[in-house]
Symmetry: C2
């Protein structure tokens, strides 16, 4: 195996033992796109693959953060270490307006077996998906048994992120009417499990029935998508979710679908890395920047349009 030499063998050693400070440091290197980040990731890559990566997505306001907190507490009762990546930047900081959530988060944040990273970064060269799965790899290598990745199921990059997980949980709430939107948007097609949170609110049964008939109508799906009901604020239904997720994971491992999915996810990741590298090349190299200036100039003086001939533009860059 070809490994580049890293400057920090000690840092790597500490990451692999789950040292919080070392993991934090490596995360900052990843987020800052420090050249050392890739050499660290390269070195620890063969220690990844042990964690269950669960994507938790859904429309804003359905209670994803609360559910994620409760799920974490539930996993921690079994003494398994958990890594949390919150890609929705609004959830922890403004969502923290709910006192209950704050208390929950504090309980988690001070726990040594849990690592929380809130991804508030943006505008970083379209690299949010990249950063997220790199951080997931880091948490995985650091010994976390569960990696929970929360995204609001609205933006495209957020959905892309969830699609790099082993299992995707879509969270809905009865009142929101978001189920229709979720189905239209393709979010439901990615769902391995659906959680109806706020189950005490009117319409929970109706939503469940709607979802069941939709899933039944799907042609060509032999896989049953479980629908579970929770009330995360009251900690109701959480152990059932965890047990279902574990069951799905274990089935996927046995029937080979986990390996297939991870292979596909790997291709997605490689694409994402290549794309990021390409974008970095066209945005950050001085030569490319000059060429971009020339292209822009051609458009501004009417010699060309941005739509003229993308293929020949590409050739100019490569």
């Amino acid at each position: 195996m070809s490994r580049k030499k890293t400057q920090s063998p000690l840092l790597i050693e500490r990451i692999l033992t789950g040292d919080k400070i070392a993991v934090s440091k490596a995360m900052s290197l990843i987020e800052n796109d420090d050249p050392e980040a890739h050499s660290i990731l390269d070195s620890i890559y063969d220690k990844t693959g042990k964690a269950l990566r669960l994507g938790i997505t859904g429309p804003p306001g359905v209670g994803k953060s609360t559910l994620l907190c409760e799920l974490t507490l539930c996993i921690r009762k079994e003494n398994e270490p958990v890594g949390i990546i919150a890609v929705d930047p609004s959830s922890y900081i403004t969502g923290g307006a709910l006192l209950g959530d704050r208390i929950r988060m504090q309980k988690i944040a001070t726990d040594d077996g849990t690592f929380i990273r809130s991804m508030a970064t943006r505008g970083n060269l379209g690299g949010l998906a990249r950063t997220t799965f790199e951080i997931a790899d880091l948490l995985d290598a650091s010994g976390k048994k569960y990696i929970l990745i929360e995204t609001v199921g609205v933006g495209q990059s957020e959905v892309d992120i969830v699609n790099t997980c082993d299992i995707t949980a879509v969270v809905l709430s009865p009142e929101s009417g978001d189920s229709i939107q979720a189905m239209k948007s393709g979010l439901m097609e990615a769902a391995d499990i659906v959680i109806i949170n706020k189950k005490d609110r009117p319409g929970a049964e109706k939503l469940e029935n709607e979802l069941r008939s939709t899933f039944e109508l799907r042609t060509g799906t032999s896989v049953r998508v479980p629908i579970l009901k929770t009330n995360a604020l009251l900690s109701e239904g959480i152990p059932a979710v965890l047990s279902e997720v574990k069951g799905i994971f274990s089935d996927m491992r046995k029937n080979g679908s986990l390996a297939r999915r991870r292979r596909n996810n790997l291709k997605t990741k490689l694409c994402s890395l290549l794309q990021y590298n390409f974008l970095k090349a066209i945005k950050l190299s001085q030569k490319a920047d000059r060429q971009m200036e020339c292209l822009a100039e051609d458009v501004l003086c009417g010699k060309n349009t941005p739509y003229s001939d993308l293929d020949s533009l590409m050739v100019k860059f490569l």
Copy 2:
């Protein structure tokens, strides 16, 4: 000027006269990434640049859609045609749960001078930003004087989209506590105008004062960021917003900053188009797909890691 021949000179003619059906058809071609779309965009490109492109962004629930509707009605009173691109898929479909919004939307939807496109597409090869500005170019060429682009200020791609507008309006509400998050996230740095909606709620004054002191603390900004207060549900404060936006636009035109910003936006667009083209090449070509399979295989059998050597991976692809 080199123009590729398009199959639909009639379609182009109809687009340029603002024919709704022709514009819709072209939008579908763009969204489906039909090869004809680029030849149409190429042909109409020299008719673009006349519209004022206003990006409207902010956290979920602050009332962006309502504000956008009211602003549209306000512009329509002056008889100017308006194009609306709603990138936040949840806003029009589920946000329509508010009866008031539905009535507003209907009023707009049946108006011949207004064109509304809701971008519910996702997962389309990272092309949401691309599709949005292509549709904005189309609306611009079709004679719309204002193009309003609404995105929820959460996802990265959404923020990228707003950054291709002439003017960015950030909408906040007093109660949400989102202002801190908005400032942290870099959303405020993009703001040309801040709108505090739901101004009758407690905390509006406080939020305004906080924002003013934050803006004053910014080093190196000679530009004053106006802060306006509205109550979109009661149609209060909307004409002032429109007048402020017009004033900013007119100032930007006079002092040359509009040309500078559009030049920068153009570079962003070109990058986005190139990136999209690159991604399409690595995702859709059979040869690239086989190569990606080989790369994935090398990683799976431990010969390589995804982080080994991106530059040499790049070379393999190009």
